[in-house]
């Protein structure tokens, strides 16, 4: 038990994890601990009582989950996983050949399945950009740590691409070209545009031609060159303008950041340089506006950290920001 609890207001008390566990969820261990604490600090009783009363009013009815349900859902999930997990708990050395044969079989069937379905998947690793040319000469430049998937066989009739991450598209004229992401989809005919779809952020920039953007639950929006449209999960979508000719972007090695929390900026650095950055909660919430070059890691970090009055330390692939 922390000493400073004696100075806490009822609201602060009711926000302490162990207090919530004790008085809202009736956790015996914490309940005992808090009762002992209250007995030792009788002067704090009024605050504790008010905090308790406030908490009691936050109790809600919760859905009850049965063991049967847990088992049922888990077996459904297992049945739905097309490829069985390769790694088993323990591999007995004398039976290595059985394991090898099994892995080979799985690999072969996966290959067969890919051939039949004609599914093509292209992934750029962290720290790399990758250009992919589609059967119709349309071009996709993948930013670091991004993936596209499409069906090669059907591509001529149905230009349908699934994207996870960020990519720039240069699309030749022809049948509708559709980019699907988990956060929204884009439909175009012949144009160039950039899509960012990671975690909870979806953002589309139109460079040439026309781009139709669909966000689930919203009316489709038509973008013309210089228009940008997107949203962050939990907020409403908004449109902006940018200069499609003059504005540099990640393809030319310039990353421009407009009022973003530092945690997003650092996540981008992690993808671009394949490193891990450690920083505190409050640092991650600070907002950054500026730009940096994608050449040297230390120079990029310097451009971000210096205006924010932060210091960084590079230790191989580990970076600490303070």
């Amino acid at each position: 038990m922390k000493q400073e609890y004696i100075t806490y207001t009822p609201e602060q008390l009711m926000d302490v994890d162990s207090f919530i566990a004790a008085y809202l969820h009736r956790d015996e261990q914490f309940l005992q601990a808090w009762q002992n604490w209250e007995a030792a600090h009788p002067e704090c009783s009024p605050q504790v009582e008010e905090a308790r009363s406030l908490l009691r009013h936050l109790a809600v009815h919760e859905y009850r989950v049965s063991q049967q349900k847990r088992d049922k859902l888990w077996s459904n999930i297992q049945a739905n996983l097309q490829t069985k997990p390769v790694a088993k708990r323990r591999i007995i050395p004398t039976r290595w050949y059985a394991v090898a044969a099994a892995s080979l079989f799985i690999a072969a069937s996966l290959l067969l399945w890919l051939q039949v379905s004609g599914q093509s998947s292209i992934t750029s690793m962290a720290g790399t950009h990758l250009t992919h040319v589609l059967p119709d000469e349309s071009q996709i430049i993948l930013n670091a740590a991004s993936q596209i998937t499409y069906r090669k066989k059907q591509y001529r009739n149905k230009r349908d691409i699934h994207l996870d991450g960020e990519a720039f598209f240069e699309v030749t004229k022809g049948a509708p070209f559709i980019v699907e992401t988990d956060l929204g989809s884009i439909r175009v005919w012949g144009t160039s545009f950039n899509v960012f779809a990671r975690d909870s952020i979806f953002d589309v920039k139109c460079y040439t031609g026309k781009v139709e953007v669909r966000i689930p639950g919203e009316d489709a929006v038509m973008l013309t060159p210089g228009q940008q449209y997107g949203y962050v999960s939990g907020r409403t979508a908004a449109s902006h303008t940018f200069d499609p000719v003059r504005e540099e972007d990640w393809r030319s090695g310039q990353i421009k950041v407009n009022d973003q929390p530092l945690r997003n900026v650092f996540a981008e650095i992690e993808r671009q340089y394949d490193v891990t950055i450690q920083f505190g909660e409050s640092t991650g919430a600070k907002r950054y506006t500026g730009f940096y070059q994608l050449n040297q890691l230390d120079s990029a970090l310097y451009h971000i950290c210096w205006p924010m009055q932060l210091e960084f330390q590079i230790n191989g692939k580990q970076i600490t920001v303070k």
């Binding site: 009822p10 609201e11 009711m14 926000d15 994890d17 919530i20 566990a21 809202l24 008010e50 009363s53 406030l54 908490l55 009691r56 009013h57 936050l58 109790a59 809600v60 009815h61 919760e62 859905y63 989950v65 847990r70 859902l73 888990w74 459904n76 999930i77 739905n80 996983l81 097309q82 490829t83 997990p85 390769v86 790694a87 708990r89 992934t123 740590a145 993936q147 996870d164 988990d182 956060l183 990671r198 975690d199 909870s200 689930p216 639950g217 919203e218 962050v232 999960s233 939990g234 907020r235 409403t236 929390p261 996540a267 992690e270 891990t276 450690q278 920083f279 909660e281 991650g284 919430a285």
Partner: protein, 191 residues
């Protein structure tokens, strides 16, 4: 992002035990969270199954997270929103209600007081309720809740603070009314 969670890293490397552990540790919380958005149990179960299947199949391409639970809650929320919006055709996200059926077994006693507190709590917006729920019932930190709901840490803290403050004021007032009510009722008897 802070240090990636070790269980998450094991899962991403294809450790099926780690995957099962992720499921076992989080399923109850996810099912309960889902039921505040919709009473349709089957729909929630479908979405959760799909979530775990996708998770395993796309594990190699997933980002790192310091809190698997935050990741899973955010993912469930997003998927539920998408499904519910498709079904309801509501225009903005604020219209997806977050239902709290309050359960005060040992809180306010009289019918009247119950109604007053309930109407007070119903003044909270759906998103305020959701933030309160995630903090007090799922035990998540403000930082995690901010990420799940796509809200800035500070504005989220203020939001919850305001909501609790509202509740506190209302409870004080209700309690005062209750006390004065009691004393006026009692006067004839005592005289």
């Amino acid at each position: 992002m802070n240090v990636p969670h070790p269980l998450w890293l094991r899962f991403k490397q294809g450790d099926s035990d780690a995957f099962e552990q992720l499921y076992q540790e989080n399923l109850d919380g996810l099912l309960r969270y889902g039921h505040h958005f919709t009473p349709q149990t089957e729909l929630i179960e479908d979405v959760i199954q799909e979530l775990f299947v996708d998770l395993w199949q796309r594990k190699a391409n997933l980002g790192d997270t310091d809190s698997p639970r935050k990741y899973l809650c955010a993912s469930l929320r997003h998927r539920l929103y998408r499904t519910l919006k498709k079904n309801a055709k509501t225009a903005s996200e604020d219209e997806i209600p977050f239902d709290m059926s309050w359960d005060w077994e040992d809180a306010p006693s009289s019918e009247e007081r119950y109604a007053q507190v309930e109407s007070a709590l119903e003044q909270l917006s759906h998103r305020e309720k959701e933030a309160i729920y995630l903090r007090y019932h799922q035990g998540l930190s403000y930082e995690e809740i901010g990420d799940i709901m796509g809200v800035q840490y500070q504005s989220l803290r203020n939001q919850v603070h305001r909501a609790i403050q509202k509740l506190r004021t209302i409870l004080t007032i209700v309690f005062m009314i209750f006390l004065t009510g009691m004393s006026t009722n009692m006067r004839p008897d005592t005289l």
